[in-house]
């Protein structure tokens, strides 16, 4: 048997969805046999008063073994908790009422030699969730030490994210534990991550993790913001991003969402945007940057189109030394100035 089929437990997958009908099962993951399932993913990102709410779901599809996921986050979350039961389904119904009204659920989610810092650990149903802080090497090492089998593109992808935000959410899904809990096939576990951040962004490149260059990547991202957001790249189809919905959220939607578990934060008025991603893994080299401030200037760095400015330790040390010299120079000058006026002269002695 080929080795790739023998290697056990899967690698990292980034995002999973929940769907009632198998034909619409969503999610992207690397399964226990190493094969990549090309499924559609759905994510909900709400942004209200400087807080990003990231809702994703993990689906129990039967079988055994464990699955893992890694999701880059724009900041350290203030909470990770069980998400609402039907928020994602309600969003789908709102934006695609005629054709998918009968569907009931799509879940969500995107997916240094010393050790990564464990910031938070939470258990939600059959999910063991760990929030990590660290560089690509540290997070990769932690993942490997905890049974994640990272695909070959993981080092570059982890580096891509760690350079901008060294925060990752690792989720280990134990299908055996789910079965033991009595979870039925098709049951999903929704996770709600709350992240204080100046501007939200949505990891998209991670959706290509473990896929071949020509593999298809399909995802739906729902954004709920105070006002119409500016996004980068533009959803004009050029980068495989399409605008599927772009209008003020209806009162009925907001009321419904607010009544779901943990969704009390939903405002009384908001703008709903649906961005559909339909591209190939090789082309998906960016994230979705969002400017919800009204200034219309989403960050090229947050979109992954530019590298963040680098301040190396050597540069920082040089700057500190320079400032120290300037400070010392200022002190000497002051001392000289005061000394010249206060020190008694000996000339007349």
């Amino acid at each position: 048997m080929p080795r790739r089929l023998r290697l056990a437990i899967p690698s990292a997958f980034l995002a999973m969805l929940v769907a009632a009908a198998p034909a619409l099962a969503c999610g992207g993951l690397i399964g226990p046999n190493g094969a990549v399932n090309l499924l559609r993913t759905t994510t909900f990102v709400g942004y209200e008063q400087g807080i990003e709410h990231y809702v994703t779901a993990f689906k129990f599809e039967g079988g055994g073994g464990a699955f893992g996921s890694l999701t880059p986050l724009p900041g350290i979350p203030s909470s990770v908790e069980k998400g609402g039961d039907w928020t994602l389904q309600r969003l789908i119904r709102e934006t695609e009422p005629p054709r998918r009204e009968s569907l009931f659920a799509l879940g969500a989610a995107a997916a240094a030699p010393d050790s990564a810092q464990v910031i938070m650990q939470v258990k939600i149903d059959a999910l063991d969730i760990t929030v990590l802080k660290g560089g690509a090497d540290q997070v990769g090492t932690w993942a490997r030490d905890h049974g994640f089998r990272l695909p070959p593109d993981a080092p570059e992808v982890l580096d891509f994210y760690a350079k901008r935000s060294p925060i990752f959410l690792a989720a280990a899904f134990d299908a055996d534990a789910a079965k033991a809990r009595g979870q039925a096939i098709g049951d999903g576990t929704s996770v709600h991550v709350t992240i204080p951040t100046p501007n939200p962004w949505v990891p998209l490149r991670i959706l290509s993790l473990g896929k071949h260059a020509a593999d298809s990547v399909q995802a739906d991202v729902y954004l709920l913001t105070d006002r119409k957001p500016a996004i980068l790249p533009a959803a004009d189809g050029g980068d495989g991003l399409f605008l599927g919905y772009d209008q003020a959220a209806s009162d009925s939607l907001l009321t419904d969402l607010r009544s779901d578990r943990g969704m009390e934060w939903i405002p009384t008025s908001a703008w709903l945007t649906k961005v559909t991603i339909d591209t190939t893994a090789i082309a998906l080299s960016f994230d979705l940057a969002i400017d919800a401030s009204g200034q219309g200037a989403p960050s090229r760095v947050q979109a992954g189109l530019e590298r963040p400015p680098v301040t190396s330790p050597a540069t920082a040390a040089a700057l500190a030394f320079l400032f120290a010299l300037l400070g010392l120079g200022a002190l000497v000058s002051l001392r000289g100035a005061f000394g010249s006026t206060s020190r008694p002269t000996a000339a007349g002695a």
Partner: protein
């Protein structure tokens, strides 16, 4: 008499310097032309660098392989039959064979191989997905 002695010593000195220069040039030239007996290969973002190396035939060559990635890799050198075997083999941990070595995450390993025939061989990582991702290099064995 004294002038003749000085001239003789000067001539001898010039000849000695010329000889030294000639020897140094010869050593340098042959050293540059001769394929390396120690080859350093870095692994970064699941790719080998360099992906093309040249080694001598019939002498031990030490490969120093440094893995900068936080994931495991391997380095397997051989002809098409060898690669086909490892491509379908269940072995994921290699020991005892200098032409097939495991390179754990963030580590450096070395292996010494004596190639017995001239030609061009591939070195490949056969962990799942790695070859398809581009983890392939070539070694040319020069007579």
């Amino acid at each position: 008499m004294a002038r003749r002695g000085i001239r003789r010593w000067a001539t001898a000195g010039v000849l000695a310097v010329a000889a030294l220069v000639l020897v140094a040039a010869t050593v340098l030239a042959t050293g540059l032309l001769r394929p390396s007996r120690m080859v350093e290969i870095d692994i970064h973002y699941s790719h080998y660098s360099p992906a093309e190396v040249r080694v001598p035939l019939g002498v031990p060559v030490t490969f120093v392989i440094r893995n900068d990635d936080p994931i495991d890799h391997e380095w397997i050198v051989g002809d098409a039959a060898v690669q086909a075997f490892h491509r379908t083999s269940a072995d994921v941990l290699h020991t005892g064979d200098p032409t097939a070595v495991s390179v754990p995450a963030l580590s450096t390993v070395s292996t010494t191989v004596t190639f017995t025939s001239a030609g061009r061989l591939a070195y490949i990582c056969h962990l799942p997905g790695h070859e398809a991702y581009g983890m392939v290099g070539w070694v040319t064995i020069a007579p």
